[in-house]
């Protein structure tokens, strides 16, 4: 009884298949680990800086692996893996200044790392100990936003605040909104583009196009390369190799600097791939082919930096061994912090709902405490 779709999908040439538009992928480091130059994005990095990026990539992946293992062992309720997206997150994350503000989705573990947030705070959310709970101002990274795309408006509004504070120009500040390819369909994201554009707000829209919105491939969200949409909203867009940490760093630096100086928003489409499942509850074998995964494995974001470090003679085996050992240590620390995390006091659910005490909540809290103590006194049914 299989029914063929009524021909719409094939009825029109995809915009990006046309002769006039060929998406340019900004790249500074090839998958083979060769450094290439781009006229618009010069990037000077010292050996130490490159090694530091490599370290970030490896440690972030290790934390992610550890979290997946913790979920498998029942220690986390769920985990959204960033596997494959390390370069996009570390490259952009390291392009931020301490006064810039990042607005993440729930997958930005690499960005959180770059902002200096303790990975244990991320585990709290996925373990179900809190809904995030960190102070966004402490490291200038807002809480993870789970509702798709909502944070792009928050970033835009924050950027409008920067303008009103006179913090645009020399030594200016900017905001960066992270989101995925699926989110570009949401009204909120399109509204954020409009607000940012008409206000010339100092915000960078960093879209990690990882090709999949759970089971839906990119062609369910768009017929044109996502970065081209920016033009219609009135600001520049570009596509960068999201698995190239150098290129992600370079383009984000430039876009953030433009925003800080008052040149308004930029849309960066980091072209990457979700190597793992959407979350630990998802099974991607139901909807995508392993050949696709295999082809992206050849573009691994970490391996290319390693190859570059080796070929250029910047690092030898002892460096990689040292990073590997540190990764084990960070992994163990992540594990320990998770296992040692106490469950919240049940009565804490009544905290932080309003600025001032609420009579209703006080009453309910007293009811719960009294009810629970009735069990403690052995009043078992």
């Amino acid at each position: 009884m299989a029914v063929k779709a009524a021909g719409r999908a094939a009825s029109r040439t995809h915009y990006h298949d046309g002769p006039d538009v060929k998406p340019e992928l900004i790249q500074l480091l090839t998958p083979e680990g060769e450094r290439v130059e781009h006229p618009d994005y010069p990037l000077e990095l010292s050996a130490d800086e490159i090694k530091a990026l490599y370290r970030d990539l490896v440690l972030v992946r290790r934390i992610d692996f550890e979290a997946i293992a913790l979920q498998r062992q029942g220690e986390l309720g769920i985990w959204a893996s960033l596997l494959g997206q390390e370069a996009a997150q570390v490259g952009s994350g390291r392009a931020l200044g301490p006064r810039d503000m990042a607005f993440p989705t729930y997958r930005e573990h690499g960005v959180a790392w770059c902002r200096g947030l303790d990975p244990a705070k991320l585990l709290e959310l996925f373990r179900g100990v809190s809904h995030g709970g960190w102070d966004p101002k402490a490291h200038n990274i807002h809480l993870y936003t789970i509702v798709i795309g909502a944070q792009t408006l928050h970033a835009t509004g924050y950027a409008m605040g920067i303008q009103r504070d006179g913090a645009v120009g020399e030594n200016g500040e900017a905001a960066i909104a992270y989101f995925g390819d699926g989110a570009t369909s949401q009204g909120d994201v399109n509204e954020a583009f409009i607000w940012a554009s008409v206000n010339n707000a100092p915000v960078v829209f960093f879209c990690q196009n990882n090709q999949w919105a759970i089971s839906e491939p990119l062609d369910r969200q768009t017929r044109i390369p996502l970065y081209l949409r920016a033009h219609g909203f009135g600001f520049p867009g570009l596509r960068v190799d999201g698995n190239d940490v150098f290129a992600c760093l370079a383009v984000t630096r430039q876009a953030m600097q433009a925003a800080r100086e008052g040149q308004g928003p930029t849309l960066i489409e980091a072209y990457t791939y979700r190597m793992g499942a959407h979350t630990t509850t998802d099974d991607p074998t139901r909807y995508r082919l392993s050949a696709e995964l295999e082809s992206w494995k050849l573009k691994d974001p970490i391996e290319r930096v390693k190859q570059y470090l080796i070929r250029s003679g910047m690092a030898k085996e002892d460096f990689f061994a040292e990073i590997s050992a540190e990764a084990d240590e960070v992994g163990n620390r992540t594990r320990t912090s998770c296992l040692e995390m106490p469950d919240p006091d049940p009565a804490s659910m009544f905290d932080n709902i309003y600025a001032d005490p609420s009579a209703l909540l006080a009453e309910e809290r007293a009811q719960l405490v009294s009810y629970l103590s009735s069990f403690a006194e052995g009043d078992e049914r």
Binding site: I148, Q221, M349
Partner: protein
């Protein structure tokens, strides 16, 4: 009779609805190839094609808004909202458009759209995945709001909701998706109660327990436990939250004189408040105790490590039954 999980019962019900009417469409995020994150639409795209089972762009307002357009064109869309906490982007389309079109058109337009929403907690999820927003919809004139409680309910109610010419907000108890029971998948729908009707699941004469969705099983278990202690509890699965089946509720409470309403949603301004007010009005001289409510606290849904303290369970229901009987 066939043994089905609640998820599979919905799947079978949707399949029948699609077989019976070529205008029935399914639309939502991940409903096609994946079959939905709870597998409710598993296999339907393969059998009915991409024109009838549509993997939509990731935009809830778009899902409901385009469903309205499809309905205007004569289709019967069944929308899936992936999780309760993701319905709010579609709230404007539901409240201002879907609910009011018939009224605005003086009855010339009918919008037979079903919006399926997995709801409730107890699955250890992160925030926005465990909410019970039914009262928000029950407050909106023009919407029918229903909740299935077991596989038999699910199978019949989804089909009746699709046939219904009004918009239906269809709540599915996500922590009960894998509960199994016997379902008559062969007999006609005519034998099943209408979506307006409550079902008395356990007969009793001392206290009436009113529940729906995930609390149905909890309340049936509570009635068994109460019976073991010599207390006779009547359990009514409301099924329809708007409109409420007032005659069934009133008949029971006039008999028992006591009523406890149970839902996961916060008690404050919840369904229980409306029900208690109606019971007070209709059963005032029969009541032996005030109508009691068991539900969530007046807090956002808490982190999952303490959700067991937020959610009504067997003990809290029995505690309320005892308090009612103590009056």
């Amino acid at each position: 009779m066939t043994t089905l999980t609640l998820s599979k019962a919905l799947n079978e019900g949707l399949r029948k609805a699609m077989e019976n009417d070529a205008k029935v469409l399914i639309m939502g995020e991940d409903v096609g190839k994946l079959g939905g994150v709870f597998r409710v639409t598993d296999g339907l795209q393969k059998d009915f094609g991409e024109d009838r089972v549509i993997d939509t762009p990731l935009a809830e307002s778009g899902i409901v808004g385009t469903a309205i357009g499809l309905a205007l064109r004569g289709y019967r869309p069944v929308c899936e909202i992936q999780f309760d906490g993701f319905v709010y982007p579609a709230f404007d389309q539901i409240v201002s458009q879907l609910a009011k079109m018939t009224y605005r058109s003086l009855g010339k337009v009918r919008l037979p759209v079903v919006v399926r929403i997995p709801f409730g907690g107890g699955i250890g999820a992160v925030e926005h995945h465990s909410e019970s927003p039914e009262a928000l919809f029950a407050h909106i004139p023009g919407l029918r709001v229903v909740a299935c409680g077991d596989p038999a309910d699910a199978f019949a109610m989804i089909q009746k909701s699709v046939i219904c010419d009004d918009p239906v907000i269809f709540f599915e108890p996500k922590r009960r998706y894998w509960d199994k029971s016997e379902v008559d998948t062969v007999g006609g729908l005519a034998a099943a109660p209408s979506i307006d009707q409550a079902r008395t699941l356990v007969s009793g004469d001392q206290v009436t327990l009113l529940c729906y969705g995930p609390m149905v099983r909890t309340c049936v278990e509570a009635a068994s436990a109460a019976l073991a202690e010599g207390k006779s509890v009547e359990v009514i699965n409301l099924r329809s939250l708007s409109p409420l089946d007032i005659p069934t509720i009133v008949t029971s409470v006039r008999k028992t004189g006591r009523c406890v309403v149970v839902h996961e949603a916060p008690v404050t301004f919840g369904l229980g408040a409306e029900i208690a007010a109606r019971i007070t009005q209709e059963c005032f001289y029969s009541l032996e105790a005030p109508v009691l409510r068991v539900g969530g606290y007046s807090t956002p849904y808490p982190p999952s490590r303490i959700e067991e303290y937020y959610l009504p369970d067997l003990d809290r229901v029995l505690d309320a039954v005892d308090r009612s009987l103590a009056y």
